[in-house]
């Protein structure tokens, strides 16, 4: 008999509809897997009751002969950046430890409305700030992957959606939500050999998602196939009047629109993404990707995105600037942590609460953000970074005159060991070099697994599309997925 936890979103959905297995069996199987995988530390909170309730609803609906909802009985993981009613929501910070919202984020509500259930709240980098999941107050997430040759060094699952990536790769959940500010869906997806898509900025409502950098934050799905990503995204996206930056557009039928033929498509290869010191294996994978898309019928052209090298510095001004303001609300006055010793005044309460509540990376970014917005430095940093952002968006606009999609590596390396880069923030920030430009331009972008490096670790390819062309991105992802035939999975040691 098949182990249902090996199945993806589409297979689970179809199997529950067909009665091949009950939703309850599915929920129970995943709940067991989650409960046995503590060593990965992928979950901050487990919510078996939530998953079981959704499963019961699905089974009852099927028994009553009703038409099942799009995700009826499919259990998923929820990144702990989404507010979930009555369930602790922490953003992986001590600041919000114990915080139970009285409201549900729009994205999670849409998923529940579609019949999905929640297995738990997934660990992440604190306030989604990090690329390795080493900044969580609740401890590192350990990647289920290990290097070959008996090297048991614990590896980073990527970040900030590291709990999501680890849980999916380890088959603890068939899919999960992620959020992406500068690569937080795509880089962890690449590190663990799964797929993940950040849609066009504004596709998914930010209402109820703990904010990191408002102009960049965007929710998206992570799963083990392109089709699964399409299904989840269809049930996450959509206009929300409660988010002013939400796009007032109908949600396309992405799953139905999937096609792996790229005939008639032009795929651009941005020459500026050939960075110094890029490992040969990444270079080789990129070339392999080019061959695959050609095989799928696409024409490949070289394009130029001349301002690429300014993207990372601009991002590390804009994102911290917004974060420094967005995180001002965590002040110990109304909810969350309050540190107030006897005799302390208001200013002292702020200082001790924020000193105790925020981790080092969060503090670093608040300080950077405060600095770049301060009088006398604003124009040199923030204004300049906004100009760069405009130029980067213009680079992409120019590229779209020559091609329909862009193909690049997702990250400049395979997963690194925990602790390897955590002492050097700049080396860590470089991980986002390929993902940040499309975030600054608000474009849809996806990572799909391409293969393994010599150490046996997954590598990802990134497809970037025009605004609103998630379909084009998904289709190119599917073309690569079919040709890559990526079936590698980490062997269970946890």
């Amino acid at each position: 008999m098949t182990d249902v936890t090996d199945l993806g979103i589409a297979q689970l959905r179809d199997g529950i509809r067909a009665g091949t297995f009950s939703a309850r069996e599915v929920a129970d199987a995943f709940i067991v897997k989650v409960s046995k995988a503590k060593a990965l530390n992928a979950f901050i909170v487990e919510t078996p009751d939530h998953a079981i309730a959704a499963a019961k609803d699905a089974d009852a609906a099927r028994a009553a002969g009703e038409t099942l909802k799009p995700l009826a009985g499919v259990p998923i993981g929820m990144k702990d950046l989404f507010a979930t009613k009555g369930v602790q929501t922490t953003a992986a910070s001590h600041m919000l430890e114990g915080f139970k919202p009285v409201y549900e984020s729009t994205v999670s509500q849409r998923l529940w409305d579609a019949g999905a259930g929640m297995l738990g709240k997934l660990n992440l980098d604190q306030f989604a700030m990090g690329s390795s999941n080493e900044t969580s107050y609740f401890g590192n997430v350990i990647s289920p992957w290990r290097r070959g040759g008996g090297d048991n060094a614990p590896l980073a699952p990527g970040g900030s959606s590291g709990g999501s990536s680890a849980a999916i790769a380890a088959r603890l959940v068939p899919g999960a939500t992620g959020t992406d500010t500068g690569g937080s869906i795509r880089q962890p997806a690449a590190f663990v050999g799964i797929s993940g898509i950040k849609p066009t900025y504004g596709r998914c409502s930010r209402w109820g998602v703990v904010a990191f950098a408002s102009s960049l934050d965007q929710a998206g799905p992570m799963a083990r196939s392109v089709q699964d990503c399409a299904i989840l995204l269809e049930n996450m996206a959509g206009f929300d009047p409660k988010d002013s930056t939400s796009l007032e557009l109908a949600v396309p039928k992405w799953e139905a629109g999937l096609s792996s033929s790229l005939r008639g498509k032009k795929i651009g290869i941005p020459k500026e993404y050939r960075v110094d010191g890029m490992p040969a294996e990444i270079e080789a994978l990129w070339q392999q990707g080019i061959d695959w898309v050609k095989d799928a019928g696409a024409e490949v052209v070289e394009v130029s995105l001349p301002h690429t090298k300014y993207a990372l510095p601009a991002y590390y001004i804009i994102a911290p600037a917004e974060a420094s303001s967005n995180l001002a609300r965590y002040d110990g006055v109304r909810y969350g942590l309050r540190e107030l010793a006897d005799g302390q005044n208001l200013q002292e309460m702020y200082a001790s609460t924020r000193a105790a509540g925020f981790g080092d990376e969060v503090k670093r970014r608040i300080l950077i953000g405060t600095y770049v917005l301060s009088a006398g430095f604003y124009d040199a940093y923030y204004t300049q970074a906004q100009k760069v952002r405009t130029l980067i968006a213009r680079d992409f606009d120019n590229a779209w005159m020559e091609c329909d999609l862009l193909l690049t590596p997702t990250a400049p390396s395979a997963a690194f060991a925990l602790g390897e880069k955590s002492a050097d923030p700049l080396a860590m920030y470089l991980n986002d070099v390929f993902t940040v430009p499309s975030s600054l331009a608000g474009l849809p972008a996806m990572s799909v697994p391409g293969g393994l490096d010599k150490a046996g670790l997954p590598l990802g390819l990134q497809i970037i599309g025009k605004p609103l062309d998630e379909q084009g991105v998904l289709n190119a992802g599917l073309a690569i997925e079919e040709r890559a035939g990526f079936t590698a999975r980490p062997e269970s040691w946890w």
Binding site: P101, S244, E322, S324, A328, V333, L346, L373, A375
Partner: protein, 501 residues
């Protein structure tokens, strides 16, 4: 303008005061600027707070269309440029009454640009001394909550009811030169806001408050360094602030000191301003565009709708009252100074014209006179304002109609009005019940006149001997004998005949 310039006499000569006002006006709206929470004054603490106002994690602001509409209408009412493109910025600072840790305001791109307000400096003759005060801009922003320090011996409590309420900040140019001008500007601004309906103007409830910028200089010299006195909450206090702060600055300067650019507070009990914080302690607010909100782009149909919804404004109304209704300049000014007064007067006017079957211009003077003398006098005694008047415009019109058609005389009307105030009864009912109806019955009046002449033979002889001034005496006696109910015109006519013998 020819009014004598306001000058402060110092030891070193005359000083001129330069004043600019930043007025915070709470937008009249059922909901807050970026949330759906209610905005009623005086509600239980923290009973009007949404998740957004409390800045819960992941909550996002969405602009309230009504607040934007009111700001645009206010801008139109002062003849200002309306910026079709505006944007919200965050003003960052920490305080317990500021849940987000920033105030959403508009620094870089305000919704309303330059406009102006005309002020009158002579109440009796509004056109005699006027001055145009420039408005720099109007922007919309969130109000903060409030701290309550009197609830607990060692703790402060926070009430977030006001947090997120929409304010318009109306910034004048430094165009005012005297306390009178500052007071006239604030009164006029308040009148316009009330006419437009964009702010209730209740300064005692905090719906409107002014930051008063004052500097002094030798007449004609460059602007001096200014101070800003925060949150002054009445017209009188604004005028006092200007006076005492200007005098303080002159004293400092003449003693060889320097004015420090700082924030001050006005203490009405002591009649002085006190330093709150100097520029050195000023926050670095780290303004930047709010990334949660898109730029506000107003289309032509929205602007057209705003313009079409504007009422007749005070200046236009005052001129119409003078020119079309024939009111005196003073009466027109008083009746239009406040939207509620004008509304009351127009209701009275319309009803009077209707019941008398005449045009408004034919009944306007009597209506204005009655409202401003009889009704205002009565309200004054009762300590009530027009909104609390025990007599409605319809009841007033009934009274005026009885005078106009000769049913009661003017003096009798005053008596009837007294009774209306006491009993709440209508004028026709009072006249009917108490038999106060004026009589024009010539037979009855002739009988009384004959009696009066018979009782006063001496006066009659004198009159007939040429002392015609005694005519008034006979009128008085006749009216008295008839308890005021005789038609004076008829009395006059019959008396003349009778006296002529």
């Amino acid at each position: 303008m020819t009014e004598a310039a306001y000058r402060i006499q110092g030891d070193t000569g005359e000083w001129e005061v330069v004043i600019g006002l930043e007025v915070h006006a709470q937008v009249t709206s059922n909901a807050k600027l970026f949330s759906g929470a209610a905005t009623a004054f005086g509600a239980e603490p923290n009973s009007q707070v949404s998740l957004i106002d409390a800045a819960m994690p992941g909550m996002l602001p969405t602009p309230n269309r009504e607040c934007i509409r009111q700001a645009v209408r206010t801008g139109m009412a002062i003849g200002a440029v309306i910026n079709k493109y505006s944007r919200f910025d965050r003003k960052n600072y920490f305080y317990a009454d500021l849940p987000q840790g920033y105030q959403i305001s508009q620094l870089f791109h305000p919704i309303v640009g330059e406009g102006q307000i005309e002020i009158s400096l002579d109440e009796k003759d509004p056109e005699a001394f006027t001055k145009t005060i420039g408005i720099e801009r109007i922007h919309v922003e969130q109000d903060a909550g409030k701290l309550m320090h009197d609830q607990h011996p060692t703790r402060s409590y926070v009430d977030l009811n006001r947090a997120g309420v929409a304010l318009m900040e109306i910034v004048s140019k430094p165009d005012m030169r005297s306390p009178q001008e500052a007071g006239a500007y604030l009164s006029k601004l308040r009148a316009i806001l009330r006419y437009v309906g964009s702010c209730d103007g209740n300064m005692d409830q905090g719906s409107m408050r002014a930051d008063v910028n004052v500097s002094v200089r030798k007449p004609g010299a460059e602007f001096g360094t200014r101070t800003e006195t925060k949150n002054v909450n009445s017209v009188r206090f604004v005028m006092q602030t200007v006076e005492v702060e200007a005098r303080r600055q002159v004293e400092v300067l003449e003693a060889g000191g320097k004015i420090v650019q700082e924030t001050r507070l006005f203490d009405p009990d002591r009649g002085e301003t006190r330093s709150m914080r100097s520029k050195e302690d000023a926050h670095d607010y780290r303004y930047f565009p709010d990334p949660d909100l898109l730029p506000l782009e107003l289309d032509d149909s929205f602007l057209e709708e705003c313009r079409a919804s504007l009422p007749e404004l005070p200046d236009a109304k005052r001129r119409r009252y003078e020119q079309a209704l024939g009111l005196t300049a003073y009466n027109a000014a008083v009746l239009t100074a406040d939207a509620d007064t004008a509304r009351w007067f127009e209701a009275l006017l319309a009803e009077s014209a209707r019941v008398q079957g005449k045009g408004e211009q034919e009944v306007a003077r009597a209506a204005a006179n009655w409202l401003l003398s009889d009704l205002y006098g009565a309200l004054n005694k009762l300590g009530k304002d027009l909104g609390e008047s025990p007599v409605s415009p319809v009841q007033g019109a009934e009274l005026l109609a009885l005078v106009a058609d000769g049913t009661i005389s003017g003096p009798l009307a005053k008596q009837v009005f007294e009774i209306m105030l006491e009993t709440g009864d209508s004028a026709p009912k009072i006249v009917e019940d108490r038999g106060l109806k004026q009589t024009s019955d010539t037979g009855a009046i002739e009988a009384v006149i004959a009696e009066v002449l018979a009782k006063n033979p001496g006066q009659l002889e004198q009159y007939r001997g040429g002392k015609e001034a005694l005519f008034g005496f006979f009128v008085g006696q006749t009216m008295k004998a008839m308890a005021g109910k005789a038609n004076p015109a008829v009395v006059n006519e019959l008396l003349k005949k009778a006296l002529a013998g």
